[in-house]
């Protein structure tokens, strides 16, 4: 399923938090210059895919946790990238097919992919290619997301991908289309009520190398931590009684809750992750175009396409989200 690396992403998003705590500030200044600019043919992954630790936030690009979600101003001008897609007559989108409610196979028709991410991809394709666009979905494993974009195996990746500085050095992101955060998932009847001391003496499951694991290392509230390869494996452990609660990001936790009516999200998210559409750094016009689509997607309050999609896919298990995060622009 590939949430492991995704969770890891959260780690790098949080990296600056650590830095803010006064650990890394100097180190970052020393380590950064490497990644400045946008290399035409970037060397093979400079930054390893699972950024485990809070290392080297690329400050040379001016990226910090506060402005990481900033993107280019929207525009519907056709540049090279948009024209290339139009000429090909199809949009190639990297998606997940195992992430419940976000991108997964329709149980009634397994050849079809459905979910919140898929609806967004469709809206983008319609805007570029017209009312009945030809979309090619490529199921990209988590560890292939950045390479797929950089090697142009896909035009974009729409796959619950967290925006962070480390990734921004390698790919370009749209404005954020969803705000999530680490959260606790436990059985409804459980005495656990949030990421707090109610965890004491409990067994907590989290994905290996994930932000959840880092959080629990910092503060475990007296709980025993068990790690598994993938966040969904935690639901298995929870159902089998091998774990009492799960710590994972709220969007994915919602996917778990949707598969098991006896569990629910507990308390508030205790971190922030912004999801964005990833594209090749050279495709500036495409980034602007997607941001334009997102503007329209957010527009209309309770009647906006975004809210429709949220109501359809996520509201039942991830209630209380009032709307999309406000876009931030860097230019």
């Amino acid at each position: 399923m590939g949430m492991r690396a995704r969770m890891a992403d959260l780690g790098s998003a949080l990296a600056p938090v650590a830095a803010g705590m006064g650990v890394m500030a100097a180190a970052a200044a020393v380590l950064v210059p490497v990644l400045s600019g946008a290399p035409a043919i970037p060397p093979r992954p400079h930054v390893p895919e699972p950024p485990r630790t809070a290392v080297a936030a690329p400050a040379a690009t001016g990226c910090t946790e506060e402005n990481a979600a900033e993107s280019l101003r929207p525009s519907d001008a056709d540049g090279d990238a948009v024209q290339r897609i139009k000429k090909a007559g199809r949009l190639v989108v990297g998606v997940d097919q195992n992430s419940y409610r976000w991108g997964y196979r329709d149980p009634d028709n397994p050849r079809n992919l459905i979910g919140f991410d898929i609806d967004l991809a469709k809206a983008i394709a319609k805007d570029i290619l017209g009312p009945h666009p030809h979309i090619v979905y490529r199921a990209i494993p988590t560890n292939q997301r950045i390479d797929a974009v950089r090697q142009r195996r896909v035009d974009m990746v729409v796959r619950t991908m967290t925006i962070n500085c480390e990734r921004k050095a390698q790919v370009a992101f749209s404005t954020s289309y969803f705000k999530a955060g680490q959260q606790v998932l436990a059985p409804k009847r459980s005495s656990i009520d949030a990421f707090d001391d109610s965890l004491r003496g409990k067994k907590i499951c989290t994905a290996r190398g994930s932000t959840g694991e880092q959080q629990l290392k910092r503060e475990d509230h007296g709980a025993a931590v068990m790690t598994v390869p993938n966040q969904l494996d935690c639901l298995v452990r929870l159902q089998l009684g091998e774990a009492d609660a799960v710590v994972t990001d709220s969007a994915l936790a919602a996917g778990q809750a949707a598969q098991d009516p006896t569990v629910e999200l507990k308390g508030e998210p205790f971190s922030t992750d912004m999801y964005g559409v990833a594209m090749n750094k050279e495709d500036e016009d495409l980034v602007r175009r997607v941001n334009k689509v997102l503007e329209e997607y957010r527009e209309g309050g309770a009647d906006s396409p975004w809210t429709h999609a949220y109501d359809k896919w996520l509201k039942a298990d991830l209630p209380g989200v009032s709307g999309p995060p406000a876009p931030q622009y860097s230019d």
């Binding site: 993938n230 778990q256 598969q259």
Partner: protein, 481 residues
């Protein structure tokens, strides 16, 4: 298993009969004993007295010869019975147990592979695939009961059997849960299947493997017992024949008579018994060694190859179930793809071309097979492994391109899928296993047959030889009356 021993253990009993008769001569009239030491002293005194006269000496010689011959017969019967029992154990106990353990091991691996294949097919899983899974589990459970009944002696075996008995229902529970979620189209089904596979990979299969190793170790031990030379019996035989020869030479030197019919018969009977023992053992050893060399060893390698095949197939299926969700190593490679590649390497070596391979279980099996009928299926398996690898590469390329349906079709579809290659490899290995199993049986059977009747025969010959010795010496003795 140990019928021959009880059957032929009886004969050695009669020989001791002549013994009292022979030893009775020197110390026949026991004085009223005043204590053990006194008896000994008295016996020694009489013996010394007897040795000073020729008749006395002859009596002693006769007694010693008869005792030697009887000892030889008894030792032979005893040691041969042991070996023939061990040979029977090889055939009827340890090899079947080792085969059962191999079948448990294989059934479990097969169940896991079949479950993953069925999961991928989803609601289109064939009835045959379901049945195969159910049969595998049933076979494993049945053989575990049998193994448990037959492995009284081995604590290791019992421990592993218990572990397997505990783990199996848990495993099937996980697989059924995975199936149920999969039918509902929920991704957590895949997580359940991976957890089931993880249990199988890290607990059940290692336990099954240890059980297999234990049972196979017992086969080796039985084989070693069956093929050990009966040195003690042989030494006694040489001593008996030597003693008889010396007695005849002595008679010849004293009387100038060349033949003493009794001693001659004794010598001939002892020599026949000795030669029979040597010959029978040589043949039995050859057969049993052959069964190990060309049967058991091949079976072992082929069984391992089969497990590697099944596991590689399971991993291939799981690459499509996990969809890149489980990664390994610093470069975050797909866990199941890495495992698949390792399995294939184990099977067919590192080479990629049709014959470039060096190493690998199949090469090893090919080298061990001693006839064309054994080599042909292994060669066939090797060829299909190559085909499988090249088809897998295509499927993998589709998957990396993001065409999941295309990759799925190449793995479990109908147009040249990797499943076809896997099935062919499986079938070829099965054929090779059948052949080697038959070879093993033939050779071991031949080995055991060579020991048939030897224990009883040796006993009868010993009695005959003892009688001859006593008669021969008696004839000489009569010349002094």
């Amino acid at each position: 298993m140990s019928y021959p021993p009880t059957g032929s253990a009886a004969p050695p009993a009669p020989p001791p009969a002549p013994e009292p008769a022979a030893t009775g001569t020197p110390g026949a009239e026991p004085p009223p004993p005043s204590g053990e030491r006194a008896v000994w002293a008295e016996g020694l005194r009489r013996l010394r007295a007897a040795a000073t006269t020729e008749p006395g000496r002859l009596r002693i010689i006769g007694a010693v010869l008869a005792a030697l011959v009887v000892l030889f017969g008894a030792l032979t019967a005893w040691q041969v019975t042991d070996r023939s029992a061990a040979a029977s154990d090889v055939l009827e106990s340890s090899q079947p147990l080792s085969r059962d353990a191999a079948d448990i091991y294989r059934s479990l691996a097969d169940a896991d592979t079949t479950a993953a294949g069925g999961f991928l097919a989803g609601d289109r899983e064939s009835a045959a695939s379901r049945k195969r899974y159910t049969d595998d589990i049933a076979t494993a459970a049945r053989l575990l009961v049998r193994a448990s009944a037959n492995s009284q002696g081995s604590a290791t075996a019992r421990e592993e059997i218990e572990r397997l008995n505990n783990g199996l229902p848990r495993y099937t529970g996980l697989v059924e849960t995975a199936r149920m979620y999969n039918r509902q189209g929920l991704p957590v089904g895949g997580a359940y299947l991976q957890y089931a596979n993880d249990r199988m990979r890290t607990q059940l299969l290692p336990a099954a493997r240890r059980l297999y190793v234990t049972e196979t170790g017992r086969l080796d031990a039985d084989h070693d017992d069956a093929t050990a030379w009966p040195w003690v019996a042989l030494a006694a035989g040489v001593l008996a024949v030597g003693g008889l020869g010396w007695a005849q030479r002595r008679t010849y030197l004293r009387t100038n008579r060349v033949f003493n019919r009794g001693l001659l018969i004794a010598t001939a009977a002892s020599a026949v018994a000795l030669l029979w023992t040597v010959g029978g053992h040589a043949v039995a050893r050859a057969g049993l060694d052959d069964s190990i060399e060309h049967g058991a060893r091949s079976l072992r390698v082929l069984n391992e190859a089969r497990i590697a095949t099944l596991q590689a197939r399971g991993d291939e299926n799981l690459t499509l179930v996990a969809r890149g969700g489980k990664v390994t190593g610093p470069d975050q490679r797909d866990f199941y793809e890495v495992e698949y590649a390792a399995g294939m390497r184990d099977l067919a070596g590192t080479g990629q071309g049709s014959d470039a391979a060096v190493g690998g279980k199949l090469r090893e099996a090919l080298a061990l097979a001693d006839d064309e009928a054994g080599r042909a299926p292994v060669r066939d398996a090797l060829k299909n492994v190559r085909e499988w690898q090249s088809r897998h590469a295509e499927a993998r390329a589709e998957n990396d391109r993001g065409d999941y349906q295309g990759a799925l079709a190449k793995v479990i579809g109908t147009d040249r899928p990797t499943k076809e290659s896997f099935d062919k490899v499986e079938a070829a290995l099965q054929q090779a296993l059948r052949h080697e199993q038959a070879q093993f049986r033939d050779a071991a059977e031949g080995g055991r047959r060579a020991l048939t009747g030897l224990a009883g025969g040796a006993a009868v010959l010993a009695v005959l030889a003892a009688a001859g010795a006593v008669l021969g010496i008696g004839r000489r003795l009569s010349e002094y009356r």
